[in-house]
């Protein structure tokens, strides 16, 4: 039983880590705590529904459609909502992201209706046995794809020139400007990447259940993942996601489903009180 629970915790945690990674990319670039990240997950699920069920696209084309639509959405949000607020207070920007999530929810419910939508994808839904362990193929696929996306974006940031420019911009906007980097383009790219990562998470969560606006609350589990792992740490976001997934499944199995909220958010509170930069983040030192 423990093995089973650990596997499902790690699989779910991989999806949370993917969404959390998107969150960190946005935060590192623009220092925006994006409360709309959960709704970007939902958008991913509905992009998948639109591509497969409404447009009748083959699955590979649907993936391209999801990536493009999410990237455009992320870039649009930065260009028209976040960039105009540059220099404003953190509170204003946070309120914008909260309002954005409410608006996206309403638009989706008006456009698609309140009923959840079934995703009919060719993603595998069977299981295979490894001893006593039953491995859900869908969970395994979700975990492998999540890890691949994380590795791909890790490589992008480390080995490509654009990735280098984005890292430079995230480290210091002033130095980037002086170096001639167009920080608005870099930030827009960060939002596009963050949205794509959330959308991929949404595709899998929508396939696990239904494409519905209720996926937002699952997507928002990325927030404690990010705080626990470290808001500025990419490895931290991934590890934080895995930790949240494991805590959720272990507490639901051995105590009760509701207790998982207690354990996740008590850990979040402890981290904020004792090590606010997260398990893998770096403490910021200010010099007077």
């Amino acid at each position: 039983m423990l093995g089973q629970v650990l596997f499902s915790g790690l699989a779910l945690g991989s999806i949370y880590g993917l969404v959390a990674l998107g969150f960190v990319v946005i935060f590192k670039a623009t220092e925006v705590f994006n409360f709309a990240q959960g709704m970007l997950v939902v958008c991913g699920a509905f992009f998948a529904y639109t591509g497969i069920m409404l447009l009748g696209l083959p699955f590979p084309m649907t993936i391209v459609f999801i990536v493009l639509a999410a990237a455009i959405l992320g870039a649009f949000i930065h260009a028209f909502l976040i960039q105009p607020l540059a220099g404003r207070s953190m509170l204003s920007i946070i309120m914008v992201t909260i309002a954005l999530s409410i608006v996206i929810r309403a638009v989706l419910e008006i456009t698609y209706g309140p009923q959840g939508k079934t995703l009919q994808t060719p993603l595998p839904t069977g299981i295979f046995l490894v001893g006593d362990l039953r491995i859900s193929q869908l969970h395994l696929t979700a975990a492998l794809v999540s890890w691949s996306c994380m590795a791909m974006f890790g490589a992008f940031f480390k080995f490509t020139s654009v990735g280098l420019l984005m890292r430079a911009t995230a480290d210091s906007h002033e130095a980037a400007v002086v170096s001639g980097i167009n920080i608005n383009v870099m930030n827009r790219l960060a939002w596009a990447i963050g949205s794509v990562l959330a959308a991929v998470g949404g595709l899998f969560l929508g396939q696990l259940q239904l494409a519905s606006t209720e996926l937002e609350s699952i997507g928002l589990l990325a927030l404690p993942a990010v705080v626990i792992g470290g808001m500025q740490s990419i490895p931290g976001a991934i590890i934080g996601g895995l930790l949240v997934g494991l805590i959720e499944q272990l507490s639901a199995t051995y105590i009760s489903p509701k207790s998982s909220d207690i354990f996740i958010y008590v850990l979040l509170m402890l981290i904020l009180m004792v090590r606010p930069w997260g398990l893998f983040g770096q403490q910021e030192l200010g010099r007077v």
Binding site: S8, I127, L208, L210, S212
Partner: protein, 409 residues
């Protein structure tokens, strides 16, 4: 001369009668009682349901069914020359929000009555306020004990009740599987309704000499491996599911992944086409739901034909098969019929008084006959098992409503 006098008297008599009739009609048409939600041209009626939140997939559809029935009535001229104006408040799966909505509908913009009350927590929290107030609640979503016991002249059920779902479902599977001492598991979300449902199941199972156990899951769970592992451990004869769409989908899918073919029945509002579609045919063959309403398009009864025609006309073809749409429609019918009986000067007090004496609703085949008596305000109480034919993509009812009466005794 006498003929002329007679003709004159006849003419005067006609004129006077016409004048009296006109006066009466004018008085009626001008009758208003805003405190009861009654105006010259409309009657305000409140609806409180979750139109957003985790239960909106079911309850939003119910609201559509209710509104569509009222629209049908209004398009035909309304009731007694007055249109029924539906004021729908979004409960947002939040009892506190319902308190605000209730006060709005009873004090700020008073309505003649309210339908819905979809959140079980709201029913429990507001039952004392509703029962001591003046605004009747007609056609509740699944009625909790707090609302239904003791019987109140202000509350009338409009959906299949949990006790009836439990009795029908357990009885159906005990007979179908030929069980002597059934072992049953309840998979439910953590809510007031879930706790109550598990209690009803336990009560019914005990009468059959069996045992039951409940496992819970979060409303927004993404995975139910822990719950299914518990099912594997307990090895029940069958399970019953209470919750939202995801509860059924995740449970049935995960059981299928574990190779479990345990039969399951869901509560009535887990009878939506997209649930069966998401579960898939391999797992779906083990899943039915208990329903007091017939899905739209499932048969050719006059009531079903009428619903189907209107749903298609209003662009709701995709919703008509959803049991929640049918339930909202039937509740609309019940409300409109009771208002129609009040005549030209309807008042809330008259409505409450009239209904408390008892009435029935003939849904013309959409449901078993709904009979309300002085002591029984349950409403639709006869259910039957409904499954899904994946080949024809249509709902399939197993037997007639009368076949299931024996389980309610």
């Amino acid at each position: 001369m006498k003929v002329n006098q007679f003709k004159r008297k006849l003419f005067m008599g006609i004129v006077v009668s016409a004048a009296l009739a006109m006066t009466s009609f004018t008085a009626q048409a001008q009758y208003e009682n805003p405190g009861d939600g009654v105006y010259k041209d409309r009657i305000d009626w409140g609806v409180m349901m979750d139109m957003s939140g985790p239960t909106s997939a079911s309850q939003g559809i119910w609201v559509n069914g209710f509104q569509d029935y009222m629209r049908k009535i209004n398009d035909a001229g309304g009731v007694g020359g007055r249109k029924i104006n539906v004021l729908a408040e979004d409960s947002r799966f939040n009892a506190a929000q319902d308190k605000i909505s209730y006060e709005k509908l009873t004090m700020q913009t008073p309505v003649m009555g309210i339908s819905g009350f979809g959140t079980s927590g709201s029913q429990v929290a507001l039952a004392p306020v509703v029962k001591s107030g003046k605004v009747p609640v007609i056609g509740t979503y699944t009625t909790t004990k707090a609302f239904s016991e003791p019987v109140s002249p202000l509350v009338y059920g409009g959906f299949c009740g949990y006790p009836q779902m439990a009795k029908t479902g357990i009885g159906y599977f005990v007979d179908k599987l030929k069980l002597k001492a059934p072992k049953v598991m309840v998979v439910s979300i953590e809510s007031a309704g879930g706790v109550e449902y598990a209690e009803y199941i336990a009560e019914v199972v005990k009468k059959y000499g069996g045992t039951s156990k409940a496992v819970t899951m979060k409303v927004t769970a993404a995975d139910v491996t822990p719950q299914v592992l518990e099912i594997i451990k307990e090895k029940p004869d069958f399970i019953t599911i209470y919750g939202v769409s995801n509860t059924s989908i995740l449970t049935m899918r995960t059981m299928h992944q574990y190779g479990l073919k345990i039969p399951a029945f869901g509560i009535s509002y887990l009878g939506a086409p997209q649930i069966f579609s998401a579960i898939g045919d391999a797992a779906g063959e083990n899943y039915v739901f208990m329903s007091c309403f017939t899905p739209g398009g499932a048969d050719q009864s006059p009531g079903n034909k009428d619903l189907t025609a209107i749903a298609d006309k209003f662009g709701r073809a995709g919703m008509k098969e959803d049991i929640n749409y049918v339930a909202g429609w039937v509740t609309g019918q019940m409300v409109a019929e009771q208002i129609a009986k009040l005549g030209g000067e309807p008042t809330r007090a008259k409505l409450v008084d009239m209904m408390s004496k008892g009435f029935s609703v003939d849904t013309k085949g959409l449901a078993a006959p709904m009979v309300y008596t002085k002591d029984d305000h349950t409403g639709p109480s006869v259910l039957r098992a409904v499954g899904y034919d994946y080949k024809t993509k249509k709902f399939v009812s197993y037997g007639e409503y009368t076949d299931y009466l024996k389980y309610l005794k």
